[in-house]
């Protein structure tokens, strides 16, 4: 998964969780809690949604990286690649 692909997925999931905010309008480095008024429940839902959609385990200790779109996309870019490499049936 490229950074751009991951970024698109993160933005889609934020839009699903909080239909009243516009994640496309903020910068990748901005804290979504400040810029979009998301709270801990929204971040919880975002991580759970990404976990379900990408079938990838996001450890709780890494949750802090998901408060920016860039941080979340970078984490997914890095770990989705590793996840796929580790999966024998990985197909493209």
């Amino acid at each position: 998964m490229t950074y751009e692909e991951a970024r698109t997925i993160v933005i889609e999931e934020i839009e699903t969780i909080a239909p009243d905010v516009a994640p496309v309008a903020i910068g990748d480095a901005e804290d979504v809690r400040e810029a979009l008024d998301l709270d801990s429940m929204d971040i919880y839902n975002l991580i759970a949604a990404l976990h379900m959609r990408l079938e990838i385990d996001i450890p709780d200790r890494d949750a802090a990286q998901f408060v920016t779109i860039g941080g979340a996309a970078r984490w997914l870019e890095e770990h989705a690649a590793r996840h796929r490499a580790g999966s024998a049936q990985g197909s493209d």
């Binding site: 239909p19 709270d39 919880y44 990404l50 379900m52 200790r61």
Partner: protein, 388 residues
């Protein structure tokens, strides 16, 4: 055979709009099934049924505003299903001795009363969806009856179509204003605050969450709700309702949970029997409730009157809050944000995550001495999260 009536979704509700039926005659229903959507000044509420059986007849069609207590549908009991299951092709006329009332925003009684503008069911439903007052629509049907095309024309002629997926903030603001004004006018509040170290709680939470996939994890909010619910069960003078007859303690704890709406507004839907739920059940309830509240969807069991309320500022708030009691309740517990602060322990000063819990009590029902014990009990419960 049971009757499903327009529920009272709050002490101040006189009537509600039946927006939509989610079940049809003949459908089997179980306790807890959502069978209709009702609109009140709190927003659209999904109404659950508390009987098992089959939907018999729908007595009120979608789009009508009816008073609390009006029969909306008959529920045929499972043992009566054999003789009652015949589904009638058309809805029966109801003979209701209704007073003459004006249409639209005022009370409209069930069909068959001959009141209000004549309109087809489809037109009525569509107008309700669009928020169009039928009294403003010119009908082109027989005898001037309003048809679907008339509503569609009225919609096109509106200066600007309003599309609002979230809760109605102006109605919510009015509801908050009414409840809080009454609270400050009638309730002699007293306030207590208590600051304590949350290291043990947060350490346990980190450990708990580290072992679980994201959907199984807990937020501090779930622990706070459980601790307050258990403590309220033990301090009954803080859990219940105050009325003209005085205070009546509730045997159950239905915990209102203040949920902030982005862009302004607040709702406090409740988690029923919160003291009996496990932490993961509470987390699941809280998650569903916050999500639905922010979309403007409530369930009737969540709107039913809470026995006390919790208001938590979350992780981007300030140190403490002094909350206002939601009448007819007699207490509300607040939690400020967790702050890293210097803290004195036996070995000397350290830096700890510290939280400030607060209590607003109604002096007509309880006192500060017991209030202080309640807050200390909450601290104790939170410091041993493995026992929650």
């Amino acid at each position: 055979m049971g009757t499903f009536v327009m529920p009272s979704l709050g002490a101040d509700m006189a009537a509600g709009t039946l927006v939509e039926w989610l079940k049809q005659p003949g459908d089997a229903v179980e306790q807890g099934d959502i069978i209709a959507v009702v609109e009140t000044d709190k927003g659209a509420i999904e109404v659950e049924v508390f009987e098992k059986g089959h939907i018999g007849e729908l007595l009120v069609e979608a789009g009508n505003v009816v008073p609390v207590g009006t029969p909306l549908a008959r529920i045929d009991g499972s043992e009566m299903a054999g003789e009652q299951s015949s589904i009638r092709p058309a809805q029966p006329e109801i003979k209701t001795a209704a007073p003459r009332v004006a249409p639209a925003r005022q009370l409209v009684f069930p069909r068959g009363t001959g009141q209000g503008p004549r309109a087809s069911p489809a037109a009525r439903k569509h107008a309700a969806e669009l928020g169009i007052d039928l009294a403003t629509v010119k009908g082109s049907g027989p005898d001037g009856a309003i048809q679907l095309v008339d509503v569609e024309r009225a919609e096109r002629m509106r200066p600007e179509a309003v599309s609002d997926p979230g809760p109605d903030l102006s109605a919510m603001r009015r509801a908050i204003a009414a409840a809080m004004s009454r609270s400050k006018r009638e309730i002699p509040h007293y306030y207590l605050t208590h600051r304590f170290d949350l290291s043990a709680t947060l350490g346990w939470l980190d450990h708990y969450n580290a072992e679980r996939p994201p959907p199984g994890r807990l937020l501090l909010g779930a622990l706070q709700l459980k601790a307050v619910a258990v403590a309220l069960k033990e301090f009954s003078e803080f859990n219940g309702f105050y009325s003209k007859e005085g205070f009546a303690a509730s045997p159950d704890v239905h915990l209102g949970t203040a949920v902030a709406i982005r862009g302004g507004g607040l709702a406090a839907p409740c988690i029923r029997h919160a003291d009996t739920l496990t932490l993961s059940e509470l987390m699941e309830s809280l998650r569903g409730l916050v999500t639905r509240t922010r979309r403007g969807q409530f369930r009737s069991s969540e709107i039913a009157d809470a026995t006390a309320t919790v208001s938590s500022l979350g992780d981007r708030g300030v140190e403490s809050l002094l909350p206002v009691i939601y009448p007819p309740q007699v207490s509300i517990v607040g939690f400020g944000s967790v702050m890293q602060q210097p803290w004195a322990v036996e070995e000397g000063p350290v830096v700890c995550p510290v939280i400030t819990a607060s209590l607003a009590g109604d002096h007509r029902a309880n006192d500060g001495h017991r209030g202080a014990l309640l807050l200390r009990r909450i601290e104790q419960l939170l410091s041993e999260p493995d026992k929650l």
